[in-house]
């Protein structure tokens, strides 16, 4: 049992070839998931009980089941129905990448919606009262008071969720996608050198994670300029 550095140097470039796919999965499902999260949040805040319930059930189901099960239901499960195979969505759903993006989007949307809601609920009620007392309309309060403050409050939890999403993209390898993890698993199957391959890939993911944290840290610093007593 030894750690073969040459193998690391050989396999790293191969794995990094899958970086583009990992990044694509992260960015596309991350942005679509954010849109979905906002829609779910608006449904929950709509004051219409049926919209609220619908959103709550959705969130409950997608947060209560493993993401792997969701990926498998979409990739392996949906083609069971002829209606799906005949539909316009088939061009997306027959591609593993389309399925992975759909599953990741639906999953992260549920989590992020709860994070955003936490931010909205965290906004000091007194500020909204001050807005009302000044005659601001509900829409104005939402745009000028709730949104900027809730964004700032939700950001740390949101950055954690983006990191979770990055880690979930690795599950795309279970449905034949050649992302970084998928390539690594192929290499390990050939070389049977799990230490070298998986540890070096883990380091790549960690660097990616730290980069995401750093980026959000900067953004948070920018949004928090009003919370510092000194200039």
């Amino acid at each position: 049992m030894s750690f073969d550095l040459n193998l690391v140097l050989e396999s790293l470039p191969q794995m990094l070839a899958g970086f583009g796919i990992t990044l694509k999965l992260l960015l596309v499902s991350g942005s679509l998931g954010l849109v979905l999260a906002i829609v779910l949040l608006l449904m929950r805040m709509s004051g219409k009980f049926y919209l609220d319930w619908l959103a709550q059930i959705y969130i409950y189901v997608f947060r209560g089941t493993p993401i792997l099960v969701q990926i498998f239901i979409i990739y392996y499960g949906l083609p069971q129905f002829e209606a799906v195979r005949d539909s316009v969505f088939w061009s997306i759903l027959r591609e593993p990448t389309g399925c992975a993006i759909l599953a990741l989007t639906l999953n992260t949307g549920a989590y992020v919606s709860e994070i955003l809601r936490g931010g909205v609920l965290g906004v000091d009620k007194g500020l909204l009262e001050a807005g009302s007392a000044l005659g601001m309309s509900a829409r104005h309060k939402l745009i000028y008071i709730t949104t900027p403050l809730a964004t700032r409050l939700a950001l740390p939890a949101y950055s954690n969720d983006v990191i979770s999403l990055l880690k979930s993209t690795a599950l795309a390898s279970t449905i034949t996608i050649a992302d970084m993890t998928g390539i690594a698993r192929t290499i390990v199957a050939d070389t049977y050198a799990p230490y070298e391959v998986f540890i070096s890939l883990a380091i790549v993911y960690m660097i990616f994670t730290l980069a995401i944290q750093k980026l959000f840290g900067l953004f948070e610093r920018y949004l928090s300029r009003h919370t510092r007593r000194e200039d």
Binding site: M1, V61, R63, G64, T65, P66, I67, L68, V69, Q70, F72, I73, Y76, G77, L78, P79, Q80, F81, I163, L166, K167, S168, T169, A170, L171, S173, T174, T181, A184, R185, V188, Y192, P194, Y195, F198, I199, L201, A202, Y205, M206, F208, T209, L210
Partner: protein
């Protein structure tokens, strides 16, 4: 629903394995989390570094990589170890149950580290001072004041960690643990109904999540009986 006939008992035993993994990994997760928090809070620089590295590594690496590495890696390590004594042995198999259980306990334990650490620091220093001023010994202060207060702070995130654990058990099917995902796969090869079979898995997990959520809610309600105001 006829296709499910004959598979119910397989799903049941799969669910039993999920429950077993959950209980085993929950105990380990609490131990890892407490050790991690103790390391991070200690005055020893080395311990702080180790605690810090533990959280960075396991929060920054995809779950599936940790599971694969622990499974294949420990098999290789064990084989090498056994070969020292008996060179005849070709390969030692590691049970996926334990490789997977330890892997998800390590992952979620890294999150629990932060929860326990935050709870320890979140205890109102005034309560501690008051207890000391009343003449309580450090040990009494720890058990009667600090632990109960910590518990109340840690419980809500701890509930989320339990949900992460139960959902992460699904990933252990990747290394061949015969839990519900594995059962579904077998059932699909026979029946050709992937959607139905994976939906059953989803419902089983939803059931587990519901039980955990309700339990945590019950404990929280009990724990918060002293903090609900008169109004």
């Amino acid at each position: 629903m006829d296709v499910l006939n004959g598979w119910w008992d397989d799903y049941f035993w799969g669910a039993v394995i999920v429950a077993k993994v959950f209980i085993a990994s929950l105990s380990l997760m609490i131990i890892f989390g407490l050790l991690g928090a103790a390391a991070k809070l200690s005055d020893n620089r080395l311990a702080q570094k180790i605690g810090g590295a533990y959280t960075v590594i396991f929060r920054g690496t995809p779950e599936i990589l940790v599971i694969l590495l622990l499974y294949f890696g420990s098999a290789i390590a064990l084989t090498a170890l056994v070969q020292l004594f008996n060179p005849e042995v070709r390969f030692v198999d590691v049970p996926p149950f334990w490789a997977g259980t330890i892997a998800i306990a390590l992952i979620v334990g890294s999150y629990a580290t932060e929860t326990f650490r935050g709870a320890f620091l979140g205890v109102n220093p005034g309560s501690i001072e008051a207890a000391r001023a009343l003449g309580m010994s450090p040990l009494q202060t720890f058990f009667y004041i600090r632990i109960p207060e910590m518990w109340r702070i840690a419980l809500p995130p701890f509930g989320n960690h339990m949900l992460s654990l139960i959902k992460d058990t699904a990933l252990i099917s990747i290394i061949g643990l015969n839990e519900t995902m594995f059962v579904a796969k077998q059932a699909i090869t026979v029946t050709g109904k992937p959607f139905t079979m994976y939906i059953v898995v989803g419902l089983i997990y939803l059931g587990f999540s519901t039980i955990i959520t309700l339990t945590v809610m019950g404990i929280e309600k009990y724990g918060n009986r002293t903090t609900v105001g008169a109004q």
